[in-house]
């Protein structure tokens, strides 16, 4: 896969292989925090930053620590620990240097620790044997794709408040249905680029 340029991977991660709509990762916060566009965008921004940074860190740890020592079976647990610690660090950093952003993201930052899209991005980079820059592009693109999906569904859900949804479908049920429709719509990008 080394022949793909990071830019192609970036585009693919956003559209054709959208981590949420193609892989259905990060569903929990996607459904929980998609009622308002502003908060969805805030969470999305945090996810973009954290996926990009953690794929880079995890790339280093995987290729320079775990592989040489033959400990690749520790990948999952190590990645989870790194992500959790990194989110903590980001939270402290943002609180100190950008109080405005901290208050905007405040309660969403800890939520990211358990967002599987972030772990997913790190694991795909291993499975697909990306180089460092490909990994960073994939992490960034994955975050942007996830943000795009959550902002789109938040917009839809905001409007849906005024539509006449059948009672048994209200809430998460209809959100799942429209996520499915959105996923099908994103299949239209499939011919553009292809990564595994």
């Amino acid at each position: 896969m080394t022949e793909l340029s990071p830019f192609v991977i970036l585009i693919a991660a956003i559209f054709t292989n959208n981590i949420l709509l193609a892989n259905f990762l990060g569903m929990c916060s996607f459904l929980a925090v998609s009622k308002k566009i502003e908060t969805a965008a805030g969470l999305g921004a945090a996810v973009i930053f954290v996926t990009t940074a953690t794929t880079a860190i995890n790339y280093g740890i995987y290729h320079h620590v775990l592989t040489p020592l033959g400990l690749t079976y520790l990948t999952f647990i190590v990645f989870i620990a790194v992500i959790a610690a990194f989110v903590q660090f980001v939270e402290m950093f943002v609180e100190r240097f950008s109080l405005g952003l901290y208050h905007a993201l405040g309660i969403f930052l800890p939520l990211i620790t358990v967002n599987c899209a972030i772990l997913g991005a790190s694991l795909f980079m291993i499975i697909r044997n990306y180089t460092f820059w490909q990994s960073v592009a994939f992490g960034f693109g994955g975050g942007v794709g996830w943000t795009l999906a959550i902002v789109l569904i938040a917009g839809l859900r905001q409007r849906m408040r005024y539509s006449d949804v059948p009672v048994p479908f209200r809430g998460v049920a209809i959100a799942m249905v429209i996520t499915g429709v959105m996923a099908m719509a994103f299949m239209g990008f499939a011919g553009m680029v292809r990564i595994q």
């Binding site: 740890i61 620590v65 775990l66 020592l69 400990l71 079976y73 520790l74 647990i77 190590v78 620990a81 790194v82 610690a85 903590q88 660090f89 402290m92 950093f93 609180e95 100190r96 109080l99 208050h103 405040g106 309660i107």
Partner: protein, 364 residues
């Protein structure tokens, strides 16, 4: 060796991350010493930044009422932040009205001190102290009520008005919780605090209090409450309560009859059955000694079998209706009981010529 390596690598990684985070915390979450100004220069404190306003105030011996112990779930620890509190957080908005948000009202447990901060608290709060006390008696009044006496150790005296309450600390698995209880001992008793506590099934603090024994150490803060009794002796006092609403009324009755024996004072108290009656003999005794005090108990449930009862029956608002006259005398009424009782009694009192501003109530 094959086992040791992964343990070392993973352990080392965790230790490394922990060290990095602790260092980051030390460097990043260090706001130095901040100034905390209470009521425009009335009190000034130097506190460590990075902690919550509630814990900074507690450290500075300003005791803000807080039932949940700073978890943001009770909404009692409101203070007005004049400057330096940052924006209102999503964790606070459920507890604040729009008007309060505009006035700068915040939950002290959610405000983090990052810079010099100026706040305003009711004058009353500054008189609140933390008391260490020893249980001197804990006796049962009915099947679910106890009367708890606590002798003050440090400080040795409390200055409270009738109707005020204390917050008793009760141990809980996730750290101590505080629960509010009205003081039932009269204001003239300064070296002791008496409470009347009903056992709430599954309640943390009431279970703890019901289990207290003579000699046990307790901690509470107080007195809280901005409620004031009219101190003019020509104003009649009417106390009406039911269920576990006895504590503040007992305090009022004893305070009034001791201080102004010539002042007219009524006590109406509603119980369900004869098993729920308590303090009646004590009040009858007082009634004999003091012709200006009247006590009326009413039972709402029908009598069973052999039981005898010569007092009133039916809900307590019916007795109030029967015993009080329509008049324009100056009277003050204190209601303490379940919401439907308070509502029914309010209607009766207004019909008797009470002004709404002279009726004070506490629903629970």
């Amino acid at each position: 060796m094959a086992l040791l390596l992964p343990i070392l690598v993973f352990g080392g990684l965790l230790v490394g991350l922990t060290i990095a985070l602790s260092l980051a915390e030390r460097v990043l979450i260090n706001y130095g010493v901040c100034k905390l100004d209470v009521n425009n220069g009335d009190r000034e404190f130097e506190v460590d930044g990075g902690q919550t306003l509630l814990s900074a105030l507690n450290e500075s011996k300003v005791f803000i009422p807080s039932a949940c112990g700073g978890r943001g779930s009770c909404g009692h620890c409101t203070v007005t932040v004049l400057s330096g509190g940052g924006p209102v957080l999503p964790t606070e908005t459920p507890f604040l009205t729009r008007v309060e948000v505009r006035q700068g009202v915040r939950l002290a447990c959610q405000v983090k001190i990052r810079e010099d901060i100026r706040i305003k608290v009711p004058e009353e709060i500054l008189n609140v102290k933390m008391f260490a006390a020893t249980v001197s008696a804990n006796h049962r009044l009915t099947h679910d009520l106890v009367e708890t006496h606590m002798r003050l150790d440090e400080p040795t005296e409390i200055e409270a008005r009738p109707g005020q309450y204390v917050q008793l600390q009760a141990p809980a698995p996730e750290g101590p919780v505080y629960r509010a209880y009205s003081i039932s001992s009269p204001a003239s008793v300064k070296d002791e605090v008496e409470l009347v506590v009903r056992l709430v099934p599954g309640g943390i603090a009431s279970t703890y209090i019901h289990g207290l024994e003579e000699g046990d150490q307790v901690i509470f803060t107080g007195p809280y409450g901005d409620f004031r009794m009219n101190e003019e002796p020509d104003v009649d006092i009417v106390c009406i309560g039911g269920g576990s609403g006895m504590a503040p009324l007992k305090n009022l009755v004893h305070t009034v009859t001791a201080r102004w024996p010539e002042r007219k004072c009524w006590l109406f108290f509603g119980c369900r059955t004869t098993q729920d009656i308590f303090y009646l003999d004590e009040f009858r005794e007082l009634e004999k000694k003091n012709p200006n005090f009247h006590v009326v108990y009413a039972l709402s449930d029908p009598l069973e079998g052999e039981e005898k009862w010569e007092g009133e029956t039916g809900f307590i608002h019916l007795s109030v209706d029967k015993h009080l006259d329509v008049s324009d005398r100056k009277r003050q009424a204190f209601l303490c009981g379940p919401p439907p009782m308070v509502e029914a009694v309010m209607k009766v009192l207004e019909g008797k010529g009470f002004k709404p501003e002279d009726i004070y109530y506490d629903e629970f």
